[in-house]
Symmetry: D2
Subunit: 250 residues, 4 copies
């Protein structure tokens, strides 16, 4: 069987260089191009790339994807900064190239994606849900984007199930003790030297609790998700938003 021909854009970056190694290490994939800043996109065509892994930055991702889609090269995209307007332009290019597929994933960690999905599914069965996220102390925002998104998914699931507000008899509290309120779900942010990126969803009902915890200890955790995206995007024309659609859950 011939190998799938893969290019990496943003190949000099921290995640990009890891992706280069991951593609090289996969038996069914062949790395045919590794582009850094200043390299020409024509290389992708000359190298016969079938899939481009896009790990650059918001300023260059649109040009890169326009070129790829126009040349029938599938895309697996980790670059952020997506707006409705950008997505609409991308969809336009894909309409004109109906056999090409693009996967955009805000998070390539399969563990993080599963955590969000399981939290959403479990949410309506429990009276109480809270989220604790724990990161290294150099992080500038609190809560993390993933934790805020998880809390919103939980809140949505509770609303759809007609769940009442969470029980909480607190009458006397120090400021901040009960966490941030994200759509009715308390979210607590811990910043601790020695940690990288961790998240815990606690669900509680009468006589039982369910805890879903994701620990990310190295950005190599993104590689299985990127490789899975590469293998699946070639048979999934159009735009796919979110790695969960490639996980064949349910």
């Amino acid at each position: 069987m011939s190998k799938l021909r893969v290019a990496v854009l943003g190949a000099k970056g921290r995640i990009g260089s890891e992706a280069v190694r991951a593609v090289e290490g996969a038996e069914d994939l062949e790395l045919v191009a590794a582009l850094g800043r200043g390299d020409t996109l024509e290389t992708l065509v000359e190298a016969g790339a079938e899939v481009a892994v896009e790990l650059t930055e918001p300023a260059s991702v649109m040009d890169n994807l326009e070129f790829c889609v126009r040349h029938g090269i599938h895309g697996v995209v980790g670059t952020t900064g997506w707006t409705d307007e950008r997505l609409a332009r991308l969809r336009g290019w894909l309409d004109a190239s109906p056999r090409t597929g693009v996967l955009i994933a805000p998070n390539f960690s399969i563990g993080a994606v599963l955590t969000m999905r399981f939290a959403r599914q479990a949410a309506r069965f429990f009276e109480s849900v809270e989220v604790i996220e724990l990161h290294h102390p150099n992080k500038v925002d609190a809560p993390s984007g993933t934790a805020a998104r998880t809390a919103q998914l939980i809140a949505e699931a509770r609303r759809e199930a007609g769940r009442a507000a969470q029980p909480d008899a607190t009458t006397t509290a120090l400021d901040g003790a009960r966490g941030a309120d994200v759509d009715g779900v308390p979210v607590h942010s811990v910043r601790l030297r020695g940690l990288l990126a961790h998240q815990e969803v606690l669900l509680g009902g009468e006589g039982e609790t369910l805890t879903i915890r994701h620990d990310s200890t190295h950005h190599s955790s993104f590689m299985p998700g990127i490789l899975l995206g590469v293998r699946r995007v070639v048979t999934t024309p159009g735009l796919t938003f979110g790695l969960e659609h490639f996980l064949d859950l349910d």
Copy 2:
């Protein structure tokens, strides 16, 4: 709206008496009979029971269900000891009463059911999976039935996905250190005063781990599952095995 008329069989037992209280406490349900050892099943008909919650013992469950199904009373069954032969007899009775439904659930804890489901779904995405179950020290078997079942579901999912054996470089080990081998999945049993029933599924891949933990601290945790079963069984004719089929997880 008229309330659903519910009977409890085995109403004097530990779980049964809890179920009596739970039915009484539910606004949409009415407790119409609570039978203990020696009480006659005719009471169910006289009381106009629509659903019977069966929490007796293997020696009586078959007679109880035959009576219920024959009289069109739906069943929600927590009693254990099911064999293929017993299930076949029950199916025969249900064939003769095509509008009656029976739910048999080995575990009514929604948290335990979700833990098994999530573990099975996540299993194929991770190189390594182990199960730790922790119980009070009066438990006579190790590992717990739930942990063994969880490990089997994980092993099945890995086989279906073509996953290789788990990585393990151990060459020197004390007897028992690496746990029990259940179908290729290591299972560890902790027995500790102060605990009731707990289970942790650890999944690990490059750079990340996912942990799903269920803590059961009181047998009241079975009540939400029993009530959910009562409400759903009346519109689900035939035999349903496992609470998960009533959880509407897509």
Copy 3:
């Protein structure tokens, strides 16, 4: 060997009735009196009580202890509401009865006492420390008194060791995300159905974290501490404040 003669004051209360059972179940102790509201203290003398376990309420504890100390009956006290003025009066009575001992313990759970001690000892070795306490949702205050006290002990230990403020690069945060600030130590309060009383101290340094977690699942957890207090107070004249002084931790 003759048994130690023990009385329980407040014997009808939730903790008191548990204490009655615990004393009755201990081979080296004999329950000689169990007083409820309205019972006369003279009973203690008539029964020949050597130790009184005081589990009543702030309104009665002073009269009870005055009587006990005057009659040379040692005290083990779980009742709260201690002020400097009250302690001074108690010390006065003890000065006049130099062979009598009284132990006052804000917390009889040995696990909780050890958690505080270990947290205090470990605090100065780590750059970061945060406290998470988790309780049932009927609790009215946040954080718990134990968590606030733990955070203060940690803060004190850090100050004594000349530790700088904790690293925290947060610039954008939702209100409350980073918890309550107790003397420079972030404290997070989770309120979840299915929980009772739990506390986790997280300490982090370069490349490692240390976590000390206490789970209290039943108020029977106070009994070993009460019995230990009873056995030790008879040979410890004067006032002892805090169970930790009886744990012989070197």
Copy 4:
């Protein structure tokens, strides 16, 4: 204040090179020599080293320490392979150089040292104790040396306190389910991709559990312990075995 003059032996190794950076980064220390294989020990004298951090291997550690002690250079030693005979020889050299100090530490992680100490201190207060250690799947031995040592310390503390055997009603068990028996303490070894080195000590009594967990995520976690050793060894003549003696835990 003049800086303490420090040399690193084994400076090219994984831990040694980290130690070089750590010494260079410390304001009160000055790196005066970094020796690799083949470099001459005379350099230490020429450089005016006051403390030598010994991170080589069992084959060279004795010659290195003999030289250091003879020249009045204090030692901080991470190299393993210590026997009674070797320790006796080292003590002989130190007797002849009464102002020189040597610290040998089997583990420089302060978190690991505290975990062992806290586990030992808490052990006698709880009916049940078990140890779970979790490592990457390339580890060849199970349980880890640290876990086995922790279990022995726990067993010793229980024996000294006259504690009975742990409660365990298990009558039916799969082989290995209850872990390895280390001196009466069950030890469970998990091997999971995505982990580095982790240990959890679970202690349980009536109504409560205490958990002490150490997570080591990078070997940089040894550096604070090494630096603390360097600073303290200069005022601690003779042989000190174990970092705990420098932690000033009362």
